[in-house]
Structure formats: structure tokens, C-alpha cells
């Protein structure tokens, strides 16, 4: 079978019931989706299928039909990042980075379907994504600011959430 990954048509030899995560990582060497739990619980393996976030660990490769698979490698390169990627860098929204690809893909899909910049709405959109480092505040900051897209990456943002004690 063939699947389209980040705009490229790739031949797949794995059996159809193989998890898409395994195909991406072990057969196609697309390494940004992470094996965090392989039970659909953590969100680290998230990819976009025709723009919608899906857990690649629970998605059989044979079930995706002709849907286009997008990972963060397909959103932008280090030299030419997407607005959400730039916002994550500027707001220090990635700490260990292991949940970051899934977070960025979920945030991208959320903003593309017209999601608001309200904290509660962003939190709900990212609810299935576990981060153990940041406490989520900087991630929410980054998503809220991402529409702007114009960040100076030689410095970092003052987070509106980090000034409680002045």
C-alpha cells in the first residue's frame, strides 16, 4: 500500500493492522511522533490525518485510506517554521520536548478550524495531551499568541502567567 506523508507518496510494506505510529517510526523513519504510552492516553504520537488530529498508536495504517498524514516535520523546517512552531519556541513552551510534536499538531488543527484564544477553549483543545514539564501555562500562552506569528526568536516572551509574585 501507499500513504502520503508530509506531501510525499511512500510505499508501506507493514501489514494493514500495524499501528501508523510503528509504520512512521520503524518503517519510514519519520521520528517526530513519539511512543509515549502506545495506549492512546498521552497524545505524544499525534499526527494530522487530512488536517484532523489522530492518535497514530491506535490507528491501523490500513484504515487511513487516502488521507494525507502530516507530522511536525511537514509543518515547517528550522529555517522556515510555522506560526505555531515559532510561538512554541518564543514562549519556551517546549521543555523536554517529548510531547511537543503532538501539542503543536493539535494546536495547529485547533487554530485552523477557527479556535478562539480563550484559555479555557485552548485547554480543552489540548486536553488529551500530557505534558509533565511545563505545567501547561506556557503552552497555552504560545497557542493564544500563535495567530500573530511574528516573533523575535532571538529572545523569549514574558509569560503573562509567570508574574504572580512580582
Amino acid at each position: 500500500m501507499n500513504i502520503v506523508v508530509n506531501g510525499t507518496n511512500r510505499a508501506v510494506e507493514s501489514p494493514p493492522l500495524t499501528p501508523l505510529l510503528h509504520v512512521l517510526r520503524e518503517e519510514l523513519d519519520v521520528l517526530s511522533p513519539k511512543a509515549g504510552c502506545e495506549n492512546g492516553g498521552c497524545g505524544a504520537c499525534t499526527v494530522l490525518l487530512d488536517g484532523a488530529p489522530r492518535r497514530s498508536c491506535l490507528t491501523a495504517v490500513g484504515s487511513i485510506g487516502g488521507a494525507a498524514v502530516t507530522t511536525v516535520e511537514g509543518l515547517g523546517t528550522p529555517e522556515d517554521m510555522s506560526a505555531v512552531q515559532r510561538a512554541f519556541v518564543h514562549y519556551c513552551a517546549a521543555q523536554c520536548g517529548f510531547c511537543t510534536p503532538g501539542m503543536i499538531l493539535a494546536a495547529t488543527a485547533y487554530l485552523e478550524r477557527g479556535g478562539s484564544t480563550e484559555v479555557a477553549a485552548i485547554s480543552e483543545a489540548l486536553a488529551g495531551h500530557v505534558c509533565r514539564c511545563t505545567g501547561y501555562l506556557k503552552i497555552v500562552d504560545a497557542v493564544a499568541a500563535a495567530r500573530d506569528g511574528d516573533f523575535d526568536l532571538s529572545t523569549t516572551a514574558e509569560s503573562p502567567h509567570t508574574t504572580v509574585l512580582g
Binding site: G36, V72, Q85, V89, H90, A94, F98, G166
Partner: protein, 456 residues
């Protein structure tokens, strides 16, 4: 000095945001084998019979390692400090917690490795298990180690970490009230998003390149070298990219066994734990049992503290004696108490071994101390912030282990909390500072604990 005060970007931010950061599981080496472990299904058992010959003949299996393959089977996390080791790398005669590894199998893929594990012939003799550290002292408690169920190797071969300071009996004679509390925080899994993972690559010159998610790279190198009985220059560790650790990646979980399998098979060997293994078999933060009894004055001075701490090490000591020692040094929290009587024990149970997590040994006692401070305030009917400001560490005060505080920030932190919560502090508390005690901040009972030195 351009960096000081500047808001510099994270050096790894772009790699993380574009998916280019290479974690251990992302490293690709030709001919790499995958690992699965035979783990104890029992909390406590003797191993009556162990035979891996059938597993070794399974299709795709390249190497099986048991206790017989480890040059130095038992090496402790504190062995380098001269503290006797108690934990075998692989279970030999006994298993003391559910999930303890007994054999590891490296094979062409994870499924073949798992089939190999299931082909190991093993027989156990189950023994009674202990789960409640409060029962570690009972005469009829299950005997977990040959010395029993309480760690016996504190200084002077005492089984207790003790602190004695000041005159505790006099403090309790002078007390207006005696206020006690028991605090029992439970075990917590560190739960990094990246599970335990290692990759050991045998090099043509006889060395091993080890890709590790460790938080403590040179420590892990020392542990691997000790078990293999090889000099450090046989190992090249590649680390630094950690998918979350929080203390759970201080213990050396995978590197030693990957390297033994790589040595035996002559091939690169990776071992990535499943989420289930991470939850059930990796170390947790310890459960603690803390009893605090304080002698307090009517106006909110804490005159003396008696404290008993039990620390649940799980089945093996690992860093627990160090954790309890640190805990003992911090058992007054951010406050100065001149008369102390502290006893801390490392108790063994048949739970998974416990280890570091974010403020090893100290978070437990901070939770207990701060909760207890609020309890004292409530029982005396005094303001909780004022009680804390009164007893706060100041320059020249001495810690439970006799260290002079040179620049304690307690007063400033409490003032910041007062500001953030719009608390209306009366003048003496509003004007308090970290300066050396004098006047109303130096009641009679705090004089003798003051250090002669000014600090700084």
C-alpha cells in the same frame, strides 16, 4: 556578560518544535536488537529453578542474560560511598518486588524477544510479602533481607538517622501547648513522557557506545563499569537529551543490561520500556510516614520538635539512606526550632524500590512541616503568616544539622506571599527582615542556637 538578565532562547527550542531533536529511541543503528525482560510475577519469592536454554533456541533470539552472566551481580547506588550493596542486577536466588527483572532477552524484534521471555523456564516459591512500612519493626514481619526489614548501616552501624539538638525535655516542660500531627504522603510515579530507554553499541575496538536517557550520565557510567568489571575508558556515553526525568532517571535502569546483551551477542541492543513497565516496575517517589510533636508557646514560638520518620525504600536501598539524611536536615522546614529530637528509619517492603523525585527527601517533609504550621496556627488562634514570619529562618540561625544560615530568604518569600494574597500584616511583621535576630525577634529560647558568625 551579555547573558545575565537577558531572555535568551532555549538552545533546544527549535529542535523540539520541528521534531528534529534526537531522543534515544530515535537513534538508528544497523543490526539493532530489541529487548524484553522476564520479570517477577510475585511480590516476594525464592527462585527454585531457572533455565533459559529453550529461550536461547527460539527464532530471532540472539542473546539471553541472567545473573550468571553478570561479573559483579550486586552493586549498590551508594557503593561508591562505602555503603554495602543489596540489589542484584538480575534476581538470582530471590525476588523481592513484583516486576523485578530475572532475565533479559535480545532478539531481532520486540515480538521475538517477548516470545523468548515466555520460553524461559522458571519456578518460584512464594513467600509472605510486606507492604506496610509501619510493620517493618514487627518481630513476625516477613524477613526481606538477611538483616531484616530496617536499614542497618547509618553511621556507627546504627539503624536510625538521628538528630539531637538543644534541650528537648526543657522545651516540652516550658510548652504552653503540645501539638501533634501525622503525615503520610503516598508513592508517586515520576511519569516522564519518554519511558526508560537505552541503546548499547559494541564498537570494533572493544568499547561500547551507550545512548542513555539518564539524568546522571557519569553516575550511570560508573554503575555499568562496576557491574561489567571494566574500566571507565571502555564506555562512551551519549546523553543529555532526556524526555523527562523528574528523578526517575537517576537510577540506571537499562544501560547495564543492554551492554551485557551487546557484549554477548556482538550486536547493538536497545531496550525501551513499555508504559506499563514504567508504571509498575520503575522506581517511584517513596511513601513516607511522619509524626511531628511540637512544644509551642502561647504566642506562637515553636520551642521544640520531636519527629519520627519512616521512609519506604521498597525492596532495595538504592539512594534511600541519602534521602532520609537530607530529610532529617530539613525537618524544621524554613523555620528555626532550637530543640530537636529526630529519628528517621529506612524501612524495606516488597514494593518497587523508591528513589529520587523533585527535591529528594525534602518535598515530603516540606508538606508535613507546612501542614503542621497551619495546624499550629489554627490551634493557637494566631495568623498563619505571622506564625511563619515569627519562626522564619534568619541570618545567624542554625539548621538542624548545625549549619549557619548566611542568607535565608524565608522572610522575603513570606512577604511576597502576603503581597500576592493582599494580607494585612501588622507593623512588626511587615517590617521583619532576614537580618540577625535582636530585640523582640530574639526571645530567650533562641539565644543558644545562634551562631557566633555573622554569616555572609
Amino acid at each position: 556578560m551579555k547573558a545575565v538578565g537577558a531572555r535568551l532562547p532555549r538552545y533546544d527550542g527549535v529542535g523540539h518544535a520541528t521534531g528534529r531533536t534526537v531522543y534515544v529511541d530515535d537513534v538508528r543503528v544497523n543490526g539493532m536488537l530489541h529487548t524484553k525482560a522476564l520479570r517477577s510475577p510475585h511480590h516476594h519469592a525464592g527462585i527454585k529453578h531457572l533455565d533459559t536454554s529453550r529461550a536461547e533456541r527460539m527464532p530471532g533470539v540472539a542473546a539471553v542474560v541472567t545473573h550468571e552472566d553478570v561479573p559483579l551481580l550486586t552493586y549498590g547506588h551508594l557503593s561508591a560511598l562505602g555503603i554495602p550493596a543489596d540489589e542484584p542486577l538480575l534476581g538470582a536466588e530471590d525476588v523481592r518486588y513484583k516486576g523485578q527483572p530475572i532475565a533479559v532477552v535480545a532478539a531481532e524484534d520486540a515480538d521475538a524477544a517477548q516470545a523468548g521471555v515466555e520460553a524461559v523456564d522458571v519456578e518460584f516459591e512464594e513467600r509472605p510479602a510486606l507492604f506496610d512500612m509501619r510493620k517493618s519493626f514487627d518481630a513476625d514481619a516477613p524477613r526481606i533481607h538477611h538483616w531484616g526489614a530496617v536499614y542497618p548501616h547509618f553511621e556507627g552501624e546504627m539503624n536510625v538517622r538521628q538528630i539531637r539538638k538543644g534541650d528537648i525535655e526543657r522545651a516540652f516542660e516550658q510548652a504552653y501547648k503540645i501539638i501533634s500531627g501525622v503525615y503520610r504522603p503516598a508513592a508517586i510515579e515520576q511519569m516522564p513522557l519518554e519511558t526508560q530507554v537505552g541503546l548499547s553499541v559494541p564498537e570494533p575496538d572493544g568499547r561500547f557506545t551507550i545512548y542513555s536517557c539518564t539524568q546522571a550520565l557519569y553516575f550511570s557510567m560508573g554503575v555499568v563499569a562496576a557491574h561489567l568489571q571494566l574500566p571507565l575508558n571502555k564506555f562512551k556515553f551519549v546523553g543529555g537529551t532526556v524526555g523527562g526525568g523528574f528523578g526517575g532517571k537517576v537510577d540506571t535502569a537499562t544501560e547495564t543490561l543492554c551492554t551485557l546483551l551487546a557484549q554477548k551477542s556482538g550486536r547493538p541492543v536497545k531496550w525501551r520500556w513499555t508504559r506499563e513497565e514504567e508504571f509498575l516496575c520503575s522506581s517511584t517517589r517513596a511513601p513516607w510516614h511522619m509524626e511531628i510533636i511540637d512544644a509551642v508557646s502561647a504566642d506562637g514560638w515553636i520551642l521544640g520538635r520531636k519527629m519520627l520518620t519512616l521512609h519506604d525504600a521498597g525492596a532495595y536501598a538504592r539512594f534511600s539512606p541519602y534521602g532520609v539524611t537530607k530529610h532529617s536536615f530539613h525537618h524544621t522546614g524554613a523555620y528555626t526550632i532550637p530543640n530537636l529530637h529526630f529519628d528517621g528509619y529506612v524501612c524495606f517492603t516488597n514494593r518497587v524500590p523508591t528513589s529520587a523525585m523533585r527535591g529528594y527527601g525534602v518535598t515530603s517533609v516540606s508538606f508535613a512541616v507546612e501542614t503542621h504550621m497551619s495546624r499550629i496556627a489554627e490551634e493557637l488562634g494566631v495568623d498563619p503568616l505571622e506564625l511563619r514570619l515569627k519562626n522564619a529562618n534568619r541570618i545567624g540561625d542554625t539548621s538542624p544539622n548545625g549549619i549557619t544560615y548566611t542568607d535565608p530568604s524565608t522572610v522575603d518569600v513570606l512577604h511576597a506571599i502576603a503581597g500576592a494574597t493582599d494580607a494585612d500584616l501588622p507593623a512588626p511583621y511587615r517590617d521583619a527582615s532576614r537580618d540577625r535576630r535582636a530585640g523582640e525577634w530574639l526571645p530567650e529560647h533562641l539565644v543558644s542556637q545562634l551562631s557566633d558568625s555573622e554569616g555572609h
